[in-house]
């Protein structure tokens, strides 16, 4: 270098500043902070359990047993992880564009409802593949439109996307209830109001070898595909520019509005796919059980995974396990069902607080606080 050497450059040639070390430091920061947040929330939750006179050790032992201890609990866990992976993608994709969208629940419910509604005239028609293709396409299209609507409102009308996606979720649930309890209610169903159920032979089957439906495979493929799209393509790179600084993206001639719309459409399609599998592989029909909070768990999972599509998979399995253990915890410890929700909520608050540590811990950022004139 021939020009003026600032004091900084004196220390920029050491091994600790090689490209490789910087990437290692960044990577370990992204791993260590969420893990620490999980640990802190577990500690806080233990205090809560102690206050109730319950044993934290027993609680976490039961989470292990109910979520990961046996083959049966694993299939329960993966069954819950599959939709959560997809709803987490619905959060992570817009996050890449700097948007905080929490509408996965609504897109899931409306996607599932659409699939069930499309199925009604086709049940028992003897063309299950045709029926499933239509259901799948309908669920993805409606889910995409639902989140895409929030994206368009944000881009062209300046409506806050977090508020609009949250409210659109309530509207989605209300739309489903309106039809399920009215025009599309199956009179033959003696239980809670539902659409006409698929015949059990028409349901989506299990993956070979394990007791989990094909939705898991689709969810894993979706996570990998979104990773490739957002991290390995020019579209993903353009999204990252637009999300990081919209003014700079415009000055580079990037179509920021189109990127926002396309990304939110993809996000909604992911959540819509989760709804399709809930109907086609789990419930066989649309009813209030569709809105069980997978969309909201997806928000937590996406944040804990730092909005990274590949990290979403293990985190979704972790929370799938915690949810799967809910039943056994209720029975063995006499704790209410909402206990697991409380743990989730606590984790989320601690997680949001932990965001402030990024870029501030000396071990991960050797010279981050250096000031210049």
């Amino acid at each position: 270098m021939t020009d003026i050497t600032s004091p900084q450059s004196a220390s920029t040639h050491g091994i600790f500043d090689s490209d490789w070390m910087i990437r290692v430091r960044r990577g370990s920061e992204a791993l260590a902070i969420p893990l620490a947040a999980l640990l802190v929330s577990a500690l806080l939750f233990s205090i809560f359990l102690l206050a109730l006179g319950k044993s934290p050790a027993q609680f976490f032992q039961l989470v292990w047993l109910g979520g990961f201890g046996t083959a049966f609990s694993w299939s329960n866990t993966l069954l819950r992880a599959a939709p959560v992976m997809l709803t987490a993608l619905a959060v992570a994709i817009p996050a890449r564009l700097g948007l905080t969208m929490i509408g996965g629940e609504g897109a899931l419910v409306l996607g599932g409802f659409t699939a069930a509604a499309i199925a009604i005239p086709l049940i028992g028609s003897g063309a299950p593949l045709f029926m499933h293709i239509l259901m799948f396409a309908g669920a993805l299209a409606v889910g995409a439109a639902w989140v895409g609507l929030a994206g368009a409102l944000r881009q062209f009308r300046g409506v806050n996307e977090t508020i609009s996606t949250l409210l659109l979720s309530y509207i989605a649930i209300a739309i489903m209830n309106f039809f399920v309890e009215g025009a599309l209610r199956d009179p033959a169903d003696p239980n809670k109001p539902s659409t006409k159920a698929l015949e059990s032979a028409e349901m989506i089957g299990k993956l070979p070898g394990i007791d989990v439906h094909w939705g898991l495979a689709f969810a894993v493929v979706a996570c990998v595909a979104v990773y490739i799209l957002m991290f390995r393509t020019t579209f993903g790179f353009a999204c990252k520019i637009a999300g990081g600084n919209a003014r700079a993206a415009l000055a580079q001639g990037l179509p920021v509005g189109r990127l926002v719309i396309v990304a939110t459409l993809i996000a909604g399609a992911c959540a819509g796919m989760a709804g399709y599998f809930e109907v086609a592989a789990v419930h066989g029909k649309a009813n209030a059980s569709l809105a069980t909070g997978y969309g909201f768990t997806g928000i937590l999972v996406a944040f804990l995974a730092r909005q990274h599509p590949l990290a979403i998979m293990p985190v979704a399995i972790l929370f799938g396990g915690i949810a799967a253990a809910g039943g056994i915890i209720q029975r063995r410890m006499g704790l209410p069902d909402a206990t697991v929700l409380l743990l989730q909520g606590m984790t989320f608050v601690v997680l949001l607080a932990s965001e402030t540590f990024y870029g501030r811990l000396a071990i991960f950022n050797p010279k981050a606080r250096t000031e210049r004139t």
Binding site: I4, D19, I22, R232, F237, R247, A251, Q252, K367
Partner: protein, 508 residues
């Protein structure tokens, strides 16, 4: 106001500050007697900001002491500095954008009252302003003020708080020359009367010579020299500042004859964010190999014009033509017509702070081979390789191509943007305040690059609030006033006074 409290003197003795393994400040001493105007000179990273932040109590120094009026004082935080009568005007604005000037002044008091009697406060402010030789609008929200007005308000705030030792961190980088002279002249007068003492961080020699009594120079974190301004010629100042480093020499202006029009701006109108008219019928033709400088008081539509040309603001009316073809600032047309830009505040307008230097350098090329395959597959290898080449070629100082660009100093962020925008063929270059807040060497480098592009045949639109920059670079100068072009003339046929006259809106 207490009135009897007069200017205070300040002395920093052997100040030392270490960040990690880096000595940012190496036993630096500085003496500012009461009632003087002291200039603190130094390059990027010389330690000027670190020194004043130690004085202000932002940093805890690792060694040394501060004497206020000869008494040792332990200033632990900026509040204690304020109580000692030391105030600072920062390089970046610290006003609350949504509050009015008056509200900003009133709430800035360290011991705010629980109930504010606005009638009395306004009367007191009027009385205060009447004693000041310059004013700033107090009834408008701060975000509606121009940069110059904001800077005046920042200085007024310190005076309102009755600070008697005022530290200014490059205060004139946001002001027009007249505004700068006006503000510094006022402060000079106040130091002469013994009302305040001023310590100004700067690298403008003209200002040092015109206003300062004494100067201290830092280089690479250490003391490089001090003296009376009257006894120190500019050459000596420059030598102390930059040591024996070579400053890039600017290429001579190559005469261009009968060059064709490259960029034609015809009848362009656009609205501001609040719906008011920002620019109103701009007509301007820029020839190949020509720099047209746009002068004007900040806030007269220059930034809106740049935004329209770079696609950041929709055009309501009018037409842009490049070499005879319609131009819409989309990515495809920018690549086709080779339109590039150097905006002001690059971290805000041209870079994504948390993306790496390599990624930021790839913004123009990430969708083209070799970085992109088939137009959509992105390869990190070629991206990093190209970035490393450009980092070396443009001497961007960064720990690594993988460091976030926000970790770089302002001059190096602008160099990275320069590398991205100017490393290919350029036909049209849109430049806005490219040297805002940068150091001497970076400024010369950037101006030389702009001149190189002109000599290679690019049509350059240069918007600048620094009239010296316009006078030294432009072939023609245009003055913008109230969203219109008020005056266009070849640089040889005009002068500073005429331009200033039109800038002030007295052209007709």
């Amino acid at each position: 106001m207490t009135g009897e409290r007069r200017a205070i003197g300040l002395e920093a003795v052997k100040m030392r500050k270490v960040f990690g393994g880096l000595v940012a400040l190496d036993d630096v001493s500085l003496k500012v007697p009461a009632g003087t105007f002291h200039a603190l000179l130094g390059e990027n990273g010389a330690g000027k900001s670190t020194l004043v932040k130690c004085i202000m109590g932002f940093y805890k120094p690792d060694g040394g002491q501060v004497l206020v009026d000869g008494r040792q004082s332990a200033i632990a935080n900026p509040r204690e500095a304020a109580e000692a009568g030391i105030g600072m005007v920062y390089q970046h604005f610290t006003l609350v954008p949504s509050l009015t000037g008056a509200e900003n002044l009133v709430v800035s008091r360290p011991r705010g009252r629980q109930i504010i009697d606005w009638k009395a406060e306004h009367a007191a402010l009027e009385e205060f302003l009447a004693r000041m030789p310059f004013r700033a609008p107090l009834d408008k929200p701060v975000h509606m003020l121009s940069a110059g007005e904001k800077q005046k308000l920042e200085i007024l705030k310190q005076l309102f708080l009755d600070q008697r030792f005022i530290i200014l961190d490059e205060p004139t980088s946001v002001l027009t020359p007249d505004e700068a002279d006006e503000v510094l002249g006022l402060l000079r007068g106040m130091t002469k009367r013994g009302d305040v003492t001023v310590l100004m961080i700067t690298h403008k020699f003209r200002e040092v010579q015109a206003f300062a009594d004494d100067l201290t120079v830092l280089r690479k974190g250490g003391y490089a020299g001090a003296g009376k301004v009257a006894e120190t010629p500019v050459d000596a100042m420059a030598k102390m500042m930059i040591g024996d480093t070579q400053i890039r020499e600017r290429a001579a202006r190559v005469a261009q004859k009968d060059a064709p029009v490259t960029l034609d701006i015809a009848g362009v109108c656009a609205d501001a964010d609040d719906g008011r008219v920002a620019i109103d019928g701009i007509n301007l033709k820029i020839h190949a190999g020509e720099i047209v400088g746009i002068a004007g008081v900040s806030g007269n539509g220059q930034s809106a014009l740049v935004e329209v040309l770079s696609g950041q603001r929709p055009m309501r009316e009018g037409q842009l033509t490049i070499k005879g073809s319609d131009f819409i600032p989309s990515r495809q047309s920018m690549a086709k017509y080779k339109v590039f830009g150097l905006p002001e505040e690059p971290l805000k307008n041209a870079a994504v702070p948390n993306m790496t230097v390599a990624e930021n350098i790839a913004f123009r090329t990430f969708d083209q081979p070799p970085i992109a395959t088939l137009g959509w597959w992105l390869s990190a290898g070629p991206m990093r390789k190209r970035a490393q080449e450009l980092i070396a070629r443009y001497r961007v100082k960064t720990p690594s191509a993988d460091a976030p660009i926000a970790a770089l100093s302002g001059g190096n962020v602008q160099r990275a943007v320069l590398a991205r925008e100017l490393s290919g063929e350029v036909d049209v270059l849109i430049v806005a305040n490219p040297c805002f807040g940068l150091d001497f060497a970076s400024v010369e480098e950037i101006r030389a690059q702009i001149m190189d592009q002109r000599n290679r045949g690019a049509a350059v639109l240069l918007v600048s609030e620094d009239l010296d920059e316009i006078l030294s670079l432009s072939d023609r100068v245009a003055v913008m006033s109230e969203g219109k072009i008020a005056y266009v003339e070849e640089i040889a046929k005009t002068d500073r006074a005429t331009i200033g006259h039109h800038m002030a809106g007295h052209g007709h």
